[in-house]
Amino acid sequence: MLKKDLGLLILILVVGTVVALLNPRFVSQINVANTANLIGLFGLFAIGQGFVIITGGIDLSVGSIFALLGVIFIDMIGLWGVPWPVAFLLTILGGVMLGGLHAFLVTRMKMQPFVVTLCGLLIYRGLARWYTGDGTAGFEFGQSFPALEWLTMGRSPIPYWLPESWGGPGFFPMPNSFIAFIIVALIMGVVLHRSVYGRYLFAVGKNEEAARYSGINTRKVIAAAYLISGLLAGISTVYFAMYTRSISPASHGNFYELYAIAAAVLGGCSLRGGEGSVLGIVLGAVLLQVLQNLVNLLGIESSLNFAVMGGVILIGVIADQQLVKYRTRKANERKRALGHGALSPVAQQEK
């Protein structure tokens, strides 16, 4: 597990170094802070996506959830005067409820997660567009929610120490969205890798029937993953809404589920279930945002943005696979030298 994450980390460092050499502004405080902010926004719900993917499912509805809950959230605080903490909680609750709906359809009605969330993708966006009459939901000019804005878009000074020749010590304006993301990642990391729930999640994702025979309530475990995904989507909704400050539901969050899936898959989650790590997802989210950033910073034609992203993902995955293959071979040779059995080549043989 750690090995895969390491490969990704190396990829990020290599890409980062190259970009920084080509355009030193890449590592400027303001750019790093901007990128961190977006990593926070996009990383939050990628973790939820990862949990669902570990169960062997998929959640295609995230982007549409942002649109639907987002317009309602903005109207709640902007139009109806609901206090923002209440609105925030209600939005999270909305996310959890939609997650619960998916969980119900997947675990009780035995529907395929792809189908359920594809329908969600279509329906939620449609409802959001219908609700606003295909218009834009936004705040009145000058409407402001200082505490909420600080929480979502604010920055917290983080002291750092650098040698004088590098500019000396100072404070880095860390986006609070990134801080929130890191906190969530830590919690979810503990849940996934240290708690018994995480263990069950891996077990269910790999072999649901065996998990059932082991007395694990597989439905509950799977349902919990969708609920977590819904919860994080709810939180993300508020962050995105406060980032854009208004939402045009026809386009808001379009394709964002693909970012999340790409981050999770890059981070080592297998779409067949049973594999993945929170650190990997975090690194996957970082890489995707760095890629977006570099296209703009290096003045690459914007039209090539997606092509660059696709290209790096492809190369990254291939390189990673070669690395794993190489390591397994090495490990086998070492083991054999010690007279032990070989490691399984099964993992590589799998399609």
Binding site: N23, R25, N34, D134, T136, R245, S246, P249, A250
Partner: protein, 294 residues
């Protein structure tokens, strides 16, 4: 060359429409050797992505940005933030409540009104119109539709409905086909986005209805102009993105050099839209070709 200031023209999404603006930017570049002018597309027509593009531009040190905001309301906060860092002007769709220096572009409402006049002229007896547009919720769409409605109010012409297609050409064409089936009494169609008119043209052509239904369009897609010349399209209302690009860049450069005299009182520098009909289509096309260097 290192210390050349960079000015960026940020558009709202990929479209042929911006090719003309690009030509204007190029022309301005010839006249502004001390500047580095670039035109930037966000990879998706989404506010968040456009904001990030502008943030990245600011981070990479541009001096001025002229932007066609995907969704001005969504972006007003970001525009304010960016306006504090660099010289910022808006084009195409304005964001009046921000710290932008000025708006240099057309008035979509005015353009809509001109289209409305074309409709009235084409249907002196009155009639029923159907509109087609990409994003029903987008400001430019809403303003154009409103402009048309304002003009035809009180006349015998009625705008029955406007169908959206989310910028999917297949759906755009199918919307026209379905309209022909569902509303056979329609006798005029308005294409609000540049590609809508060609799709109307093609669908009518295939249905053998060309010429029977009055078509009014926006913008200068080759098919639209061809239809105008042929007489099967009543006319089209064109903006002058070339001028936006050209004038916008020149004015931004002037602003950076301290010249603010060009900014009008209401901060709106309206580049008028033009009606192109059979009478002036050839001249317009010739000029267009010349500018695009074709």
């Amino acid at each position: 060359a290192e210390d050349k200031k960079t000015l960026a023209f940020v558009v709202n999404g990929a479209s042929d429409f911006w090719k003309a603006a690009e030509a204007g930017v190029k022309k301005a570049q010839e006249e502004l050797p001390n500047y580095n002018l670039v035109l930037k597309y966000p990879e998706q027509s989404s506010a968040a992505i456009q904001i990030r593009l502008m943030d990245d531009l600011v981070a990479s040190g541009v001096a001025g940005i002229m932007v066609s905001a995907v969704d001005p309301k969504t972006e007003s906060d970001a525009l304010n933030r960016i306006g504090k860092e660099v010289a910022l002007a808006t084009t195409d769709s304005d964001a009046p409540q921000t710290s932008r220096i000025a708006y240099i572009g057309s008035s979509n409402t005015d353009a809509g009104k001109q289209a409305g006049e074309l409709v009235l002229k084409a249907l002196p007896e009155g009639g029923k119109c159907m509109g087609f547009v990409g994003l029903l919720g987008a400001d430019n769409a809403k303003e154009r539709i409103q402009g048309v409605k304002d003009v035809i109010k009180g006349s015998k012409v009625e705008l029955v409905d406007v169908r959206g297609d989310d910028i999917d050409f297949t759906r755009a064409k199918r919307n026209v086909e379905d309209t022909l089936t569902a509303n056979p009494d329609i006798n005029c169609m308005i294409g609000f986005y540049s590609y809508n008119t060609p799709k109307i043209y093609e669908a009518l052509k295939e249905a053998g209805q060309l010429g029977k239904i009055k078509v009014i369009g926006f913008d200068e897609d080759p098919t639209t102009l061809g239809g105008v010349r042929e007489g099967t399209i009543v006319g089209t209302v064109v903006q002058q993105p070339y001028e936006w690009g050209y004038q916008g860049m020149k004015y931004l450069a002037a602003y950076l050099e301290g010249d603010k005299s060009w900014i009008p009182e209401n901060k709106l520098l309206i580049v008028p839209t033009k009606i192109i009909d059979k009478s002036n289509v050839d001249a317009f096309e010739a000029e267009l070709k010349k500018r695009q260097g074709k």
